[in-house]
C-alpha cells in the first residue's frame, strides 16, 4: 500500500456549524496558524525598533520597503500611503499561506474530515480576498474622485463602457481563480507525486511549488495595487 502521508483528498471539508452558517473548519485552522505566525514575527521584530536595525527588524524593514516600492509603483506617489497596509497584508497573508501550505507538514495532523493545507487553496479564501480588492478599488476611486470616478468607464471613448463593466466582474474572477488554481494545483501535483514515488521525486515539484507560491502572492498584491492605482488615476486632459 502507500505511506500514510501520501493520501489525497479533494473537495473534502471539515464542516463547522455556527448558528445556521456552515464553515470550512480546516481553512480557518490553517489561516489561524498563518496569522499567528505573521503576528508572532511582527511582534518579535517590532519589540525594540531602533535606528540601527538589529535581528528581525532588518527582515521587517526589508519587507516594508519591498511592499512600499510595490505600492508606490502601482498606485502612485499621492495615495499609495493609504493603501500600503492593505496591499501589504494581502501580500503577507497570501505569501505566508502559500509557503505555510507547502512547508508545514499538515498531514501529520489528522482531521475527521478533509485535510489541512494552504488557506489559499480554498476557493472561499481567494474569492474573499478578490472581493476585498474589488471593494477597495471602488472605494478608492469613489472616495478620491466622487462620481467623476465613472468617467473612467467612458475613457478614452464611450465604446469602452461595456468592456470596462465586464472588467469589474473579470477582475475578481481572474484574481481568485488564478490564486486558487495555482495553489491547489501545486498541492495536487506534490500530493500525486508523493503518492506515486514518496522519495526524492517530489522535491523538484516542491521547489517549483515554493517558487509559484511566492510569485502568486506577488502577482495578487501587484494586481490589487494596480487596480486601485487605476481607480485613483487622474487623467490629465
Amino acid at each position: 500500500m502507500h505511506l500514510p502521508f501520501a493520501a489525497l483528498e479533494v473537495g473534502q471539508q471539515l464542516y463547522w456549524q455556527l448558528g445556521n452558517l456552515r464553515l470550512h473548519g480546516q481553512v480557518f485552522l490553517s489561516s489561524w496558524v498563518v496569522i499567528g505566525a505573521l503576528l508572532a514575527l511582527v511582534v518579535v521584530g517590532t519589540r525594540s525598533l531602533e535606528r540601527d536595525p538589529r535581528g528581525v527588524q532588518n527582515l521587517l524593514e526589508f519587507i516594508w520597503v519591498y511592499i512600499r516600492d510595490l505600492a508606490r509603483e502601482q498606485i502612485g506617489e499621492k495615495v499609495y500611503r493609504d493603501w500600503l497596509p492593505f496591499i501589504g497584508t494581502l501580500f503577507l497573508f497570501i505569501f505566508v499561506s502559500n509557503w505555510g501550505g507547502a512547508l508545514i507538514p499538515w498531514k501529520l495532523i489528522h482531521l475527521p474530515h478533509g485535510e489541512l493545507g494552504a488557506p489559499t487553496a480554498d476557493i472561499n479564501t481567494t474569492i474573499a480576498l478578490a472581493l476585498l480588492v474589488s471593494l477597495s478599488y471602488f472605494y478608492a476611486g469613489l472616495s478620491r474622485k466622487g462620481f467623476r470616478y465613472f468617467e473612467y468607464y467612458v475613457e478614452p471613448t464611450p465604446i469602452m463602457l461595456p468592456f470596462k463593466i465586464i472588467e469589474d466582474f473579470t477582475k475578481p474572477l481572474s484574481l481568485s481563480f488564478r490564486l486558487f488554481g495555482n495553489i491547489l494545483a501545486d498541492e495536487l501535483v506534490v500530493g500525486v507525486l508523493a503518492f506515486l514515488v514518496p522519495l526524492i521525486v517530489p522535491l523538484p515539484a516542491m521547489f517549483l511549488g515554493l517558487f509559484t507560491s511566492a510569485i502568486q502572492a506577488l502577482i495578487f498584491a501587484t494586481l490589487a495595487a494596480n487596480y486601485i492605482g487605476e481607480a485613483v488615476h487622474e487623467e490629465h486632459h
Binding site: H2, A7, L8, E9, V10, G11, Q12, Q13, Y15, L18, L21, R22, L23, H24, V27, F28, S31, I35, L38, L39, V42, V43, G45, T46, L49, E50, R51, P53, Q57, L60, E61, W64, V65, R68, L84, P85, F86, G88, T89, L90, L92, F93, H113, G114, P119, D122, I123, N124, T125, I127, A128, L129, L131, L132, L184, L188, G191, V192, F195
Partner: protein
C-alpha cells in the same frame, strides 16, 4: 483513500453529503472579515511603526547628508578665505621686511654720513690747530732769529 484526484462532485459524494472544490459558504465573508481585521492589526503593529522607523532613518540620512554637504562647502569657503589671508600676510610680511631693510640701510647711511662728517670736521680742526701752532712757532722762530741776528750784529760791531 482511493478517491484521490476526483473532481469536485465525486469528492463530495465520497465524503460528506456536501462539499467539493467550489463549495461556497459562510467561510467567504468570515475570511474577508478576518483579513480586514488582520489589515488593521498589521497596520498598528507593523506598517505604521516600521514605516516610521524607516522613514525617520531616510529623513535622518538625507538631513545628515545635506548638513555634511553644507559643512563641506563652508570648510571649502573657509579654506579659500584662509588661503587668501595667508597670501596677503605673505605679501605684507615681504613688504615689512623690505621696509625694515630700507630703514636699516638709511640709518646706516645716516650714521655713516654723520661719522664721516665728524671725522672730516675733527681732521679740519686738527689741521687748523697744527696750522696755527706752526704759524705761531714760525713767528716765534722768526722773532728769535731776528733777535739772535741783532745780537750777533751788535756783538760783532762792538768787537770792532
Amino acid at each position: 483513500m482511493t478517491s484521490w484526484l476526483l473532481l469536485a462532485e465525486a469528492g463530495a459524494t465520497a465524503g460528506s453529503p456536501e462539499g467539493g472544490l467550489f463549495d461556497l459558504d459562510a467561510t467567504l465573508p468570515l475570511m474577508a472579515v478576518q483579513v480586514v481585521l488582520l489589515t488593521f492589526i498589521l497596520n498598528t503593529l507593523f506598517f505604521r511603526p516600521v514605516g516610521r522607523v524607516v522613514e525617520d532613518r531616510e529623513g535622518y540620512i538625507n538631513t545628515s547628508r545635506a548638513e555634511a554637504k553644507q559643512k563641506l562647502a563652508q570648510a571649502q569657503r573657509l579654506e579659500a578665505d584662509l588661503k587668501e589671508q595667508l597670501k596677503e600676510a605673505r605679501v605684507a610680511s615681504q613688504k615689512l621686511i623690505q621696509e625694515a631693510e630700507q630703514d636699516a640701510d638709511k640709518l646706516y647711511r645716516q650714521a655713516l654720513a654723520v661719522a664721516t662728517a665728524e671725522a672730516i670736521a675733527s681732521r679740519e680742526q686738527a689741521r687748523r690747530e697744527i696750522d696755527t701752532q706752526r704759524e705761531s712757532a714760525l713767528t716765534q722762530l722768526r722773532a728769535d732769529a731776528d733777535k739772535l741776528g741783532d745780537l750777533i750784529v751788535d756783538r760783532l760791531l762792538a768787537a770792532k
